[in-house]
Symmetry: C2
Subunit: 360 residues, 2 copies
């Protein structure tokens, strides 16, 4: 009788052990033990390594499913030093352009077996630094970045380029760092926007632009200037305003422009948000758009076609940029070795004419 009691005790112990296991996770070792094979075989089978015979693989897969096995990516990533994860860092996800880029990135990444983790910096430098440090510590396989407006030093990004971790910039790129870049033809965008205003008879064209340490805003300004020069129009410094392009900045900018001795008869805004502020302000003050002042924005935010008057703007192919960025990045990740020289891809911009510049 005593031995039976012992057996019972033994059984309940194993039950407890099983129970405890259930608390934690099933590992390949649990599967291996159950099937009386080696963990390495289980690992290979679950990774579809052709070196494992069909019957064993089938058996292992079946058992894994039965036991509710979930791979511990953390362990695998730690061992292989590959996370199959790409990080996306950008200023603000709630901008149509940026979320289009994200969709493009996701499309390519998911179909290549990569997960995507998205972070927004809110154009805050400290947050950008912290996020990028975290992504590095989490050992993402690569990074797709559009920097913030305040960002003027790049050590956090050099961390990646120095260590040869694939890095791709888009839109707001860092010229000082050698990496692939996907940009839009901002110069041409600024040029055709301004030229369009000129063609409609404007001669005193103001520009509300972004901070000049950011290349895209510098380029848009250059486009504006060249179009002015080409038409033989003078560039009045009082007509140039640079700020952070928020709703509020836009309102302040138009207020200031209207205080000028010479009022503008057209404004080229470096984004749609400021164009919107300007339009609303002018509407509230009885100044007709486009009759008195015509406006062109930049980016083609969805609201641009909804507001009255609808905003003429420059379209940027966000989705395509995202796809391209992800393709380049994944390419680099896969052929780790040879660091092919970096390329910069320039996507076309396109003018969309709407009411704010006088559709005709």
């Amino acid at each position: 009788m005593q031995s039976i009691a012992n057996i019972n005790i033994f059984i309940s112990f194993t039950e407890i052990l099983t129970q405890m296991k259930k608390q934690g996770e099933t590992t390949i070792h649990d599967i291996a033990r159950k099937l009386n094979i080696a963990a390495s075989t289980v690992s290979r089978a679950l990774n579809n390594n052709p070196i494992i015979s069909e019957p064993t693989r089938k058996l292992i897969e079946k058992t894994a499913k039965e036991m509710g096995y979930r791979p511990n990516t953390l362990a695998a990533s730690f061992r292989t030093k590959r996370t199959n994860m790409i990080g996306v860092v950008l200023p603000l996800i709630n901008r149509h352009f940026f979320s289009s880029v994200i969709s493009g990135i996701e499309e390519v990444a998911y179909s290549s077996g990569f997960a995507v983790t998205i972070s927004q910096t809110n154009d805050n430098f400290e947050k950008e630094e912290k996020i990028i440090q975290t992504l590095f510590s989490n050992r993402v396989d690569g990074l797709i970045v559009s920097i913030g407006m305040q960002t003027q030093t790049f050590n956090h990004l050099k961390l990646f380029s120095d260590k040869k971790i694939p890095l791709v910039f888009f839109d707001r790129v860092v010229e000082e760092i050698d990496a692939d870049k996907i940009v839009v033809d901002d110069y041409r965008g600024g040029f055709i926007a301004t030229e369009h205003l000129i063609e409609h008879g404007a001669t005193k064209i103001a520009h509300i632009g972004g901070p000049l340490n950011v290349k895209i805003y510098k380029d848009r300004l250059s486009g504006y200037k060249d179009a002015m020069n080409k038409a033989g129009l003078p560039i009045d410094e009082n007509m140039l305003i640079h700020n952070s392009l928020t709703r509020e900045d836009g309102t302040n900018a138009i207020k200031k422009l209207l205080l000028n001795e010479e009022k503008p008869d057209a404004i080229f805004c470096a984004n749609d948000t400021t164009a919107l502020s300007v339009i609303i302000y002018l509407r509230e003050h009885g100044i007709k758009v486009p009759d008195n002042i015509s406006i062109v924005g930049f980016s083609n935010e969805p609201f641009s076609e909804l507001v009255t008057p609808s905003i003429s703007t420059i379209r940027q192919p966000g989705f395509e940029m995202g796809k391209k960025a992800a393709e380049l990045l994944i390419n680099h990740i896969k052929q780790k070795e040879q660091h092919t020289s970096s390329q910069t891809i320039v996507m076309p911009t396109e003018l969309i004419v709407r009411e704010s510049s006088g559709r005709d």
Copy 2:
């Protein structure tokens, strides 16, 4: 001479070794070796464990910085089973409501030392499943979720609730799963929206709603019905349409409603997107809003106040919901043990009256 040559060879070997090390990463073992101490001491020092004396900590920190040490979060997470990462899964990041929620989550998470990884499902069930599997495999410490419109089975989410991994739902919640939930008072939102239309003299009020398997849309519909009943107005089944609430769905819905024998004199739309479609369609067909038909939307998307006529709508406190969700989640993560009973937090909704329902 020969010995000197040997020394030279030796030196160049160590140089090569150093070089090779530089390729890889500095680890706590490298630091320990350099300082002739144990790796455990380094680990403790860098984690500010008070058991390490001040001088040693200082020395270690200094050396770590000099050697360019970057913690390998992967290794630490693997060992401790804590990633300090919370996953956020939602249908679409490019919706003002959702991105407000994200900002709220981030605010709380970052200040508590958690990283946030954001994923969008595009209301696609397979993608939602895959994302959540991936987040589980990556062992996030907790999950904040708003499910997709197509989601009707919940095994992917049970994965978390079964394993007692903290889980918080917001907005589009799953009733069947026992977890904390943050919702808006959708019922009341539907009620006050409809009542508002009634007060403005409407009697034939249509409703364009979402799929009824999603609780928020069911609640908005209930609010609508109760307001109608309270006013003694009949509910005409022909006035009720349910779809996925896209731009296109909205256009189709208004077309269909206008084919009814009895045309509606007001429409309560379950989101602003369909309200927008309706307004644009009516504008294009010469039907005056709000004179002929008045409209109320839901969510207070930014475009709602920009379009002409501006859209009356229901405000949802996205940012606060996000903060609350993160607080609850992090609370759970920290006091892992006692599973306090789940709570559902209901946030207030608020009517914003604009032109589309006749401001007065």
